[in-house]
């Protein structure tokens, strides 16, 4: 299985080398530092569970494929070589990855070939969907690529079932894993709630939006756009609750619609639009351009942010009940994170509302800064510049 064409030159060189080695004490010089370089052979395997199928992405080092089936005798591997050998690559690799679920073997469909680079090394990327005989509950993965040619080879497996994530290393000593793809309702509730919280707390754009939306919460706007501090905390608190609830209801609507596939907008447009909502809200803090009632802004823009949340959730291949639980807990998670953010911004704003310069300088200044950042995001996301 090694190499592609016979090499008479190599054979001659071999005889020459064998003759040379006779009688010579050939020391393997062992320097004081034993292992000197350390990038061993690894493949990266990602398996995503769906209702009755598995989506697979398998990244295999080009050097390993070349060693196993020969891609280019000169060792200079081009995309053309890879494409030309695509059928051979599929017929060599696919039988060495066995996926079992739904009562039998999942059959790989057509393979899409891509390229990748990891840590400076070239990889072939194989993407395919493996159809299983029935609904996927348990997944068995048996791996044998390269183990016969290089026992140091490892497959680094990511298994993804909804929000839960499983990592494993497959080796000649442990070439098989069985994974539980079924997740209980309680687990679903907890996991998706956490995804919701994480999505807000780890995504600067939503946090930024909420922050500038709430900056002026402790003020009333008078004519010409100037801000007057409120007297009491409670009415302002109620107003904020109204704003956040409008935001939550709106994004819950679009998250649901997008996850169920009722609406489908390219994510680049959505991400661009989210950046624009920040620009508009920031601008409104400086010069009034949006409706006076903030909850209407929150609702309208919430519809847009919701479609962005849907991208964070990804396509959810869940039965109806777990799906409903997932959507509910995700939105609750988002809401909880927002309340956490508000509970920091609000008391601060209330305490500082009478401070000299807070409404006249800080709010416009911080909003302007946020607007600038959002403009940069907008350009990166839609025009792919910067």
């Amino acid at each position: 299985m090694i190499g592609s064409a016979p090499m008479p030159d190599a054979a001659r060189a071999l005889h020459h080398l064998l003759r040379l080695q006779v009688g010579v004490l050939c020391l393997l010089i062992v320097l004081s530092v034993p292992a000197f370089a350390h990038s061993s052979s690894s493949s990266y395997l990602t398996v995503v569970k769906d209702t009755d199928k598995l989506s697979v992405q398998w990244e295999i080092a080009l050097r390993d494929l070349d060693y196993a089936i020969g891609l280019n005798p000169t060792g200079r591997i081009t995309w053309g070589d890879l494409r030309a050998r695509a059928p051979a690559i599929a017929s060599y690799t696919l039988p060495r990855l066995r996926l079992d679920a739904g009562g039998g073997r999942c059959r790989p469909g057509p393979v899409t070939l891509l390229a990748d680079e990891r840590g400076g090394t070239g990889y072939a990327v194989l993407r395919f969907i493996a159809r299983c005989p029935g609904q996927v509950h348990q997944v068995g993965i048996a791996y044998s690529l390269m183990f016969d040619l290089d026992p140091q080879h490892r497959a680094l497996l990511d298994f993804i079932a909804g929000p839960s994530f499983h990592v494993a290393v497959l080796s000649p000593d442990r070439p098989r894993v069985a994974l539980d793809a079924d997740v209980g309702l309680g687990r679903t509730f907890f996991d998706f709630g956490r995804v919701g919280v994480d999505h807000i707390l780890s995504g600067p754009d939503h946090l930024l939006f909420i922050a500038i939306l709430l900056f002026p919460a402790m003020f009333r706007r008078v004519n010409a756009g100037a801000w007057l501090p409120v007297r009491r905390f409670f009415p302002a608190f109620l107003e904020t609750t109204k704003i956040l609830s409008a935001f939550t209801i709106a994004h819950a609507i679009t998250v649901t619609a997008a996850v169920l596939g009722w609406v489908n907008v390219p994510s680049r447009l959505i991400e661009g639009a989210i950046a624009l909502t920040i620009v508009a809200t920031a601008l409104d803090n400086i010069v009034p351009i949006l409706p006076r009632r903030r909850w209407t802004i929150a609702f309208g823009f919430g519809l847009i942010h919701g479609m962005g949340f849907a991208a964070a959730l990804g396509p959810l291949a869940l039965p109806p009940l777990p799906l409903a639980v997932a959507l509910l807990s995700f939105n609750l998670g988002v809401e909880a994170a927002q309340i956490a953010a508000a509970s920091i911004v609000l008391p601060l704003g209330f305490a500082l509302r009478n401070m000299h310069g807070y409404s006249a300088k800080f709010i416009p200044g911080a909003s302007g800064l946020a607007g600038l950042v959002a403009i940069v995001w907008f350009m990166q996301r839609t025009l792919q510049i910067l």
Partner: protein, 397 residues
């Protein structure tokens, strides 16, 4: 306000939506990889031999030849893939009572390369029991014992090695241990004499000569002799591609504020992790734009290695964490874990540097003990240990 601006820069640089991913190359002529062994004369030979071996898996003589060539290639190209292929050739003879001594020896060399020092010593002790004449087994034992700072055992192994073969190699074996145990000047003189007396052997086995002169250069550098530079250059004239030599020479250059020379030396050798580390250190030192890419590559490689569960390159990773990621605490954890396995001057240095940078100088006490009980002559390490000087950034590890 400072925090806010840091956060702002962070958000501008790392748009949450942007991400690297597999790609569709622009054209068929786009080169995705250069297989390094295709450029090495042994690569073609090995291909032919491996094809023969695939049809004749039980051919012991051929399997040994293949494994030896693969191990040699792995050292020459600084690439552990060939160790895996050597293991594949030896697969029909797993480690067990009936394993032939020659197979055991090569398996021990592979185990040593994967830092399974205990496994390697066990296998080597069986080799010398089965085949007392094996000079290679004693040399490998000496190297493992030396790497673990078991100097009396290493000296004993070198003596056994010298009983079985005469010349440069056993002299260097002994001298390299003496150089770490209070006899550095004597060792330097012995190496100089042996090199001049064994010129025929040095010519016939350039790898042994390169090894000898590299040890000479490292010893001279450790005791602070300027002759180190001359030795390194002599070794490079014999073999300008030896990865170990290139790394040691790069460290010398970094220590002497010559990062540009390191970049000129290593810019084509990014495949070899320890050399990529030195290259990134040099690029960082002069503010070269390539540094960010190379640091990201190193981070990806260390992450893969972590996922694989390997502990082979904690020395390099500690140095990466300390000097390129500014994470002294993590560097210290790595350097401490590394010291439990490897105890060479480079391991001592990174542990001292990390402990000082992390504000926990006492964590390097094992190194102080090592310096004292072996009477190691290394003025810079001693100064670090005594807290007389600040750690040298970008330095050798």
């Amino acid at each position: 306000m400072h925090q806010l601006s840091v956060m702002l820069v962070w958000t501008l640089l790392f748009d949450p939506v942007a991400q690297a991913a597999p790609f569709l190359p622009n054209s068929d002529s786009q080169v995705l990889e250069q297989v390094p062994e295709a450029l090495d004369s042994a690569g073609g030979v090995l291909r032919a031999m491996n094809r023969k071996l695939a049809d004749d898996r039980k051919n012991l003589a051929l399997a040994l030849q293949v494994a030896r060539l693969e191990i040699g290639l792995s050292r020459r190209l600084g690439d552990p893939r060939f160790l895996g292929r050597a293991e594949a050739a030896l697969a029909p003879w797993p480690i067990g009572p009936p394993t032939p001594a020659d197979v055991l020896l090569l398996r021990a060399v592979i185990l040593q390369s994967n830092h399974d020092f205990a496994g390697s010593i066990t296998a080597l002790q069986r080799v010398v029991a089965l085949k007392p004449g094996s000079a290679q087994a004693w040399l490998t034992l000496a190297a493992v014992h030396q790497a673990q700072a078991e100097y009396p055992s290493a000296l004993h192994d070198c003596g056994q090695f010298a009983d079985r073969t005469l010349g440069l190699a056993p002299d260097i074996c002994t001298a390299s241990v003496m150089a770490l145990t209070g006899h550095a000047q004597l060792a330097l003189r012995a190496m100089g004499i042996s090199l001049s007396q064994n010129q025929a052997e040095a010519r016939a086995q350039p790898a042994v000569a390169v090894w000898a002169i590299t040890v000479q250069a490292e010893t001279a550098d450790r005791v602070g002799e300027p002759a180190a530079e001359r030795y390194y250059q002599a070794a490079l004239r014999l073999d300008a591609t030896d990865p170990y030599l290139l790394a040691a020479w790069s460290d010398w250059l970094l220590d002497h504020d010559r990062p540009r020379d390191v970049i000129a030396l290593l810019s084509g050798l990014t495949r070899i992790d320890p050399l990529l580390l030195r290259l990134a250190l040099a690029e960082r030192a002069i503010g070269d734009g390539q540094a960010a890419t190379h640091i990201a590559d190193l981070a990806a490689r260390f992450e893969t290695s972590r996922l694989r569960g390997e502990t082979v390159h904690r020395r390099e990773e500690a140095r990466f964490a300390l000097h390129l990621q500014q994470q002294p605490q993590r560097a210290l954890q790595l350097a401490k874990a590394n010291w439990t396995v490897q105890r060479e001057p480079a391991d001592a240095r990174i542990l001292l540097e990390a402990a000082l940078a992390a504000g926990a100088p006492r964590d390097a006490d094992p190194v102080r003990l090592w310096l004292r009980i072996n009477a190691v002559e290394a003025p810079r390490l001693t100064a670090l240990a005594d807290g007389h000087i600040k750690p040298i950034s970008g330095g050798k590890s």
